[in-house]
Symmetry: C2
Subunit: 293 residues, 2 copies
C-alpha cells in the first residue's frame, strides 16, 4: 500500500496552500517549514506509526495525526542539526539545507515551529476525536519523552561531546539509541497505543524499534564508506571528514554487516509476540538491512 | 501568597538533582537548561496559570504542571532569541546569556529540550491524574497553538522581517500580540481550562491576557528609554541601537503611557465577567502598569 502518498497528502493539510499563503509569516516561515518537510526522505517513522496501528487493529486514518507529528519532529531535528553551530551541513537529501535557502534565523524558527506544531497536530480536535483524549495525550507524551532531553536531544549532546574523540562501542551505541533510535521507538510505541495494544505489546513494539534503529544506524555508517554521493544523495566519507566515531571505524565492515543482520533478526523476532498482521513490518526490517541509500 | 517559591520548587522536580546529575547529558544539557530556567524573572506566565485555575475553583496543585510547562517554553524562547543568528544578546537578566556560558550548540539544544520536555510535563502521569486526560490534552494543544507558527514564533518572524524598517502601529501591535501576547494568553487559557471554566469564560480569560500582554509590551518599550541598566537588569536603549520599531518611537511617551492605562483597564474589565476571586489578577494588571523593571 502506498503510505508515502497518504502521509504526504496529510502533511499538506497542516499548512495553508497556494494563494491562501499571503501573510508575512506564511510567505517566509511556512515556506521554510514545508521546504524541509517536502524534501522527502523515506518517511520511515510515520510509516511505522501507521503499520503498528494497523497491526493492533487500528485504522490508518487514526494514526495519521501522530504520523505527521513525528515527521514534523524528525524534520525539525534535521534543520537544527544542519545549522552552522551544529554540523554546518550545506546539503540535505541532495538539496541546499534549510538555512542556506532561508537564512539561519528563519531556519532556527522553522525548526522550532515544526517541533511546536507537531504537538498541535497530535492533540488536534481531529486527533482527539479519532483516538480519544487518553490515547492522544499518551502518544504526545511518548513523543515528547523520546524526542527530549533523555531521548533524541540527549543523543545529540553525547554526539557533540564525543566529537574529535575516540569513544567506546558502548557510548556510540548509547548515542545512537538516543539520537536515531528514540524517534523510531516513539513511532512504534505511538502506533501501538493508537491501535489499542497492551502494555506488554507496546514494549515489544519498542523492542522492534530499538533493534531496527540500531540496524538502520549501522547501515548508515556502512553506506558512508561504501556508497557513492549520487546513490546516497549526500557527501560520502563525511563521518571521516568530521572525525566522527562510527561503528565501521570501531568494529570494521564485516562485523558491522553481521551486526545489521543480528539486529534485523531481533527486530523481526519482537514481532512474533504480537497479534495482528506484521508482514509489512517484517518487510521494512529486511529492506532496511539491504538498502543502498 | 508566594507562588514564586511554589513554582521554582516545582520546576526543580523535573530535573535530577546534585549527585544524581552524573551522565554526560545531565552535566551539560541539563545544567544549561537549568541555568536559564533558574535565572529568574517574574514568573508572570506560570503565576497566571495558577491564578486563573484558582479563580474558577481549581487548585494550585493541579495548575503546576502547566505552570512549569509554560515557563519552560518561555525560557526556551529567550535562549533561542539570544543566539548570534537571532538578536545576538550577550546578557539576559544581568547574567551572561546561555550560549555565552555553554556554547551555541548546547544552547540551541537546551532550548529544543525545554520546548520538548514542556510537553512531557504538561502530559505527565501526574498532570493527567490531577486534571484528567481531556483537560491535559486541551491545555497542551492551547500551549502548542499559541507558542507555534501562528503564535509566538509567528511574532518572532514578523519581528525579524521588520528589522531596519519602519513599520505601522498595526504591524507592531500584531507582532507583539503574537511575540509576547500569545504566551500570556496561553497561560490564562490553560489556567481557565484547568479550573473548569466554560468556553465563554475561557474567552474572557484570553481577553485579559491579550490586554495585559499589550500593556506589558508597551511598558517594555517605555522602560527601554526611561529606565537605567541597573534597574532593568539589561542594557537600556537597545531597541534604538538595534533599530527596532517600538511603540514609543511611533507614538511618543505620553500616548504610550495612556495606552498602558487603557489596556490595563480593559484587562481588569475582562475579569468582571468571571465568577470567583480575581483580586490577585487585578493586582497583577495594576502592578504591571506601574513596574520599574
Amino acid at each position: 500500500m502506498d503510505y508515502l502518498k497518504i502521509i504526504e497528502d496529510e502533511l499538506k493539510t497542516y499548512f495553508p496552500r497556494g494563494k491562501e499563503r499571503n501573510s508575512l509569516i506564511e510567505k517566509c516561515l511556512i515556506d521554510s517549514m514545508e521546504y524541509s518537510l517536502e524534501a522527502g526522505g523515506k518517511r520511515i517513522r510515520p510509516t511505522l506509526v501507521i503499520l503498528f496501528s494497523k497491526a493492533f487493529g487500528g485504522s490508518v486514518n487514526a494514526a495519521l495525526p501522530f504520523a505527521c507529528g513525528i515527521e514534523m519532529i524528525h524534520t525539525y531535528s534535521l534543520i537544527h542539526d544542519d545549522l552552522p553551530c551544529m554540523d554546518d551541513d550545506d546539503l540535505r537529501r541532495g538539496k541546499p539545507s534549510n538555512h542556506k535557502v532561508f537564512g539561519e534565523d528563519i531556519a532556527l524558527l522553522a525548526g522550532d515551529a515544526l517541533l511546536t506544531n507537531a504537538f498541535s497536530a497530535m492533540l488536534s480536535e481531529k486527533a482527539v476525536s479519532l483516538v480519544g483524549a487518553d490515547k492522544a495525550a499518551r502518544c504526545a507524551k511518548i513523543m515528547a519523552d523520546y524526542a527530549g532531553m533523555y531521548g533524541m536531544i540527549g543523543g545529540q549532546v553525547i554526539d557533540l561531546l564525543s566529537e574529535h574523540k575516540s569513544v567506546s562501542v558502548d557510548v556510540l551505541k548509547d548515542m545512537h539509541l538516543k539520537k536515531t533510535g528514540a524517534l523510531i521507538k516513539s513511532a512504534c510505541a505511538m502506533g501501538a497505543v493508537v491501535g489499542g495494544a497492551s502494555e506488554e505489546e507496546i514494549a515489544h513494539a519498542v523492542s522492534y524499534g530499538e533493534n531496527l534503529g540500531l540496524a538502520f544506524q549501522i547501515m548508515d555508517d556502512i553506506l558512508d564508506v561504501t556508497s557513492t554521493e549520487k546513490e546516497l544523495g549526500k557527501p560520502i566519507g563525511s563521518d571521516k571528514e568530521n572525525e566522527k566515531s562510527t561503528f565501521v571505524k570501531l568494529l570494521g565492515l564485516d562485523k558491522c554487516r553481521s551486526l545489521v543482520n543480528e539486529y534485523t533478526d531481533k527486530a523481526i523476532k519482537a514481532l512474533d509476540c504480537l497479534r495482528g498482521d506484521t508482514k509489512e513490518l517484517k518487510d521494512i526490517a529486511v529492506k532496511m538491512s539491504e538498502r543502498k541509500n
